[in-house]
């Protein structure tokens, strides 16, 4: 291999996407952090506005599909403002535990304040953690969820392996993430909405159109349903399946560790 080819290979190995931009892998974490520090305070309002409240149903679907039981240990990864954690906390009861983990301190602070204001304190812990290097022992959790977080992770394969490691045998991972709409017409309407309306909405409400432009771009760069399923299988997950929600705008992937 020539020196130039070697340099090119090294260069592509060290590069990743930040929306439509190609950047060095080492920079993605701080750029994504910048986006979420910026939107953290308006995150819930924007979620309701952008999805017309449907994100609540997507999250409910995830909870219902998780098979959570009293006494379970749950890791809500990239849990942000704690929507899933709030429900899990009630469902696992006093004998269970939920860990709300997020790499971003601003999101974690907003989530912690929100859950404490709701009186949810007894079985929730907060951990600032990178999904690629989870600071937990092997075989710790019955359920790991990552909702609208995986696409922001720099090395998704490494994150999936890390999640696999911390799951107990019989445990399951649920990935709720934007995906590829099933019908072309819906895809076009969704593209128009994402690139023309969403950034303006972000500019108007959160005073940050760029972050919402990144959101739209990062969704398009995220692996589609089948690719993500294969990635989960490659990481060791068994019986990986996915369920399209709202015509494939969002998909819930589920896989087991046996």
């Amino acid at each position: 291999m020539s020196e130039q080819q070697q340099n090119n290979t090294n260069s592509s190995e060290n590069q990743t996407h930040f929306g439509y931009q190609t950047i060095d892998k080492k920079d993605k974490e701080s750029l994504v952090a910048g986006v979420f520090h910026s939107v953290a305070q308006q995150y819930d309002i924007m979620n309701d506005l952008m999805s017309f409240g449907v994100h609540r149903l997507w999250k409910r679907f995830t909870i219902d599909a998780s098979g959570v039981r009293p006494g379970n240990n749950v890791l809500d990864l990239a849990g942000g403002t704690g929507d899933l954690t709030a429900k899990f906390s009630q469902l696992v009861g006093k004998d269970g535990k939920v860990i709300l983990a997020d790499i971003n301190s601003s999101m974690l602070n907003v989530g912690r304040d929100k859950l404490r204001d709701k009186g949810l304190v007894q079985n929730i812990e907060y951990v600032q953690a990178n999904a690629e290097y989870l600071p937990f022992e092997e075989n710790t959790f019955d359920i790991v969820t990552i909702a609208f977080g995986l696409r922001n992770v720099t090395n998704k394969d490494r994150a999936l392996q890390s999640i696999y490691r911390v799951l107990k045998p019989g445990g399951r991972l649920l990935v709720l993430e934007f995906s590829k709409p099933e019908h072309e017409l819906l895809n076009k309407a969704y593209d128009f909405y994402s690139f023309n309306i969403l950034p303006k909405m972000g500019e108007f409400v959160a005073k940050d159109g760029d972050s919402y432009q990144y959101l739209a771009e990062s969704i398009r760069m995220h692996p589609d349903q089948e690719t993500l399923k294969t990635m989960m299988e490659d990481a060791g997950f068994e019986q990986a399946t996915y369920h399209n929600l709202t015509g494939g705008i969002v998909a819930l992937h589920k896989g087991y560790k046996f």
Binding site: F61, D64, A65, G67, L91, G93, Q239, K254
Partner: protein, 212 residues
């Protein structure tokens, strides 16, 4: 996502109603940490009701074959039409015999939950006062009472008029046997006219032949 939408709406409405009903607190406390799974044949999915921290949680559990099925203190499989009958304990055996009802676990949980929902009593004027004030509430309640009174009167009037109209109409309406008798008479007349026509024609022909 229809089950999630359904559960979400039920959860919000039920918790708001329980919060506003002062008499519900004790009934809810008796159900603390209890859960019920309800499978109604009309819905096509199961609903799990759980009382946790003075809140009613409504979910739609979906178990894969890899996971143990959802558990609860009481699991009821029935139909919407049978649901209201399970309140009276003496009917339970009969419903189970008729395969209209399947119960696993403690039926008292279901009965307590049904009683909680039935006994929700909200003081609407007091709640309204908090939002729009005393005077506006009084006026609104008076207006609502007037409208209700007028609506009741109108309903009574319409019912009475309709009954009277129907009684009169009944007198005028042709009964089936009367109609068939009329049709029979028409047929007989038609036949007689036809016979007369033939006789007139025969007589005319006879007259013509005599004159020739």
């Amino acid at each position: 996502m229809h089950p999630q939408l359904f559960c979400s709406v039920i959860e919000v409405i039920a918790n708001k109603a329980i919060e506003l009903s002062k008499s519900s607190a004790n009934a809810l406390a008796q159900l603390s940490e209890k859960s019920l799974i309800l499978s109604l044949s009309e819905l096509g999915f199961a609903i799990q009701l759980q009382v946790i921290d003075d809140k009613l949680l409504v979910t739609s559990p979906k178990s894969d074959t890899n996971e143990p099925p959802a558990t609860a203190d009481c699991i009821i499989t029935t139909s919407l039409s049978t649901l209201h009958e399970i309140k009276s304990e003496h009917q339970l055996t009969e419903l189970i015999k008729q395969d209209k009802l399947d119960i696993q676990g403690d039926i008292k949980v279901a009965q307590k939950l049904a009683a909680l929902i039935e006994n929700i009593d909200i003081d609407w004027p007091a709640e309204l006062e908090k939002h729009i004030g005393d005077i506006a509430t009084h006026k609104l309640i008076t207006l609502a009472k007037n409208i209700s009174h007028k609506a009741k009167f109108a309903k009574k009037q319409i019912t009475s008029d309709a009954s009277e109209y129907l009684v009169h109409e009944q007198k005028l309406v042709v009964a089936k046997h009367e109609l068939s008798r009329l049709l029979l008479g028409i047929n007989e007349s038609e036949q007689q006219v036809s016979i007369l026509e033939q006789r007139v024609l025969a007589l005319t022909n006879k007259l013509e032949s005599v004159s020739n």
